[in-house]
Symmetry: C2
Subunit: 347 residues, 2 copies
Amino acid sequence: MTQHEGPMRVAVLGAGGLGKAAARIIGAKRQMRLAAICDSKGIVASPQGLKAALIAGISGDLVGGYRAAEGGSDGGGVAVATEVDARHCDDPVGAMLQLADGLDGIVVALPNLPNEFIPNIIKRCVTAASGLVFVDVLKRTRAVELMLQLDPIVKASRSVVLTGCGATPGTLAAAAVLAAQSFIEVEKVDIWWGVGIANWEAYRATIREDIAHLPGYSVERAAAMTDAEIDELLERTNGLLELRHMEHADDVLLQRVGVVDSPEQVEVGGVMDTRHPKKPVSTTMTLTGITIDGKRSSHRFVLGDETTMAANVIGPALGYLKRGMWLKAHGLFGVFGCTEFLPMVVR
Amino acid sequence: MTQHEGPMRVAVLGAGGLGKAAARIIGAKRQMRLAAICDSKGIVASPQGLKAALIAGISGDLVGGYRAAEGGSDGGGVAVATEVDARHCDDPVGAMLQLADGLDGIVVALPNLPNEFIPNIIKRCVTAASGLVFVDVLKRTRAVELMLQLDPIVKASRSVVLTGCGATPGTLAAAAVLAAQSFIEVEKVDIWWGVGIANWEAYRATIREDIAHLPGYSVERAAAMTDAEIDELLERTNGLLELRHMEHADDVLLQRVGVVDSPEQVEVGGVMDTRHPKKPVSTTMTLTGITIDGKRSSHRFVLGDETTMAANVIGPALGYLKRGMWLKAHGLFGVFGCTEFLPMVVR
């Protein structure tokens, strides 16, 4: 990794709903530049930075969609197009790693079925390249545990990984760390989220991961479902998915920093409406504890209903990615959770 | 400073309402030990740790109160008493500095009238001793600005200062950093606090500092008021103090990390009821911004009404003090604000 002045050069792994949202939000930040993005079939990259809005507008195959969009743009686009490497390949992660010298940070916005999928990609990346900063928005406890176990090899590669850094876990778990400060004993952390999306097709992977939390379902079963089977399931529930006792890594990330003694003190659930953009409930973190005066009370962190899942997941992820750059600059390598630091503000 | 294993050895500067609350809360933490406390007339210290509950129960003169309480205790107290240094002195800060080798951290819970009072004490301390970690709960913008200016001499002394680390600024400003992550542009941060205290005599200094924010008052005028004059003022307002456009350092601390461009985007106000312990309004931080989708929305952080000012100010201060120990352990010296890091949980 060469030392680099100027905007942080960011690559995005994954070009689904969250990956494209990451591209779009990075495009709105002057402190970051979208240097590369890949899906399962190919990569689009440019050391000068990609047109983030164009990337965010692609549906389906990333490389094909990129070529079509650039081909369809007026003459002004041609000069830029010559500096962009857009190609299908069998190993997009490998292709991205070949660009590692021109990258500062990587946002991992891939679906994570099975649990080891993203941890294995991180392991491969830190083995192949040193000095990179990664952020993921993993949700499941087991997946985050696997990430935390990578600490020795991440340290050895002088890299930094921030794990579980979306909304939940992410902002809401960090808010619980703040809330905990007022109490002598924390009894319970309750996270109750609401997500509304107009059509589930845009967030196939996210919804499939949520279905895995339903009673009678598993990660494996959800991964094996066809789109038609998911349509049928949603038809039965009128488009609503209500989830309780979710295996969400807020538990281990809060236990790790001492907010709770046991993962059982953390409860995560919520309601997703897959047919309307309006949130069915307000996303709220409620921490209940006992004060020094022996009083029971609750602090709350409530997200505005007009904010989307993409804004609440990717915004924090980029803030944690910047924190990761700070950690690296201070020689602090390894795997860290969202509950260990404040994310930094990316302008 | 010698390296020390075991509980963090903490001294408290100040033995008013907040200083005694600090003693009491430190007494409830196994990771901290109250090694010393002083007021303007003397110091009480013990390398083995003071009886925090006894200290918290003293009213009036600290040393006299301590001697009376120990004298009044049964035989079991005598052995401890012999190891406690409780004495009146002309320069309690100097007396505490002589104990610096046996201290890890210092909670500054002194009243801060005039603005330069606490910054000058910190300056004196870091000049006299190296490797200490300080936390303050300063509120005024000007006072925090003075603290931040001490960065070079704090760094030179290999010390760490965490400034503005109570409730506001403190937890609520840090919550604003979290909330900001979801937005492309932050428009406004509104902090509206409620405090209820049964009798203002217990928090004379805090209330005097609040009166300085009232229209027509100043820091100097509030400092010069007699208790009778304050009683008279509170009589006219039925015990309520409603404050708006407060000069609170949340503004510079949020600007410093890029949450806002200008201090004018941060508004701090609130209502204090000096006659009832119930909060007249719920303390709430509201951050309003514009998302990537162009939607205006607000995230909120709301403190439970049953939590006291002492719990919400001193709890976070101790969490930031632990963060300061972490910073020092990693060779990161200097002055930091509450918006730069998450406080750590102190068990």
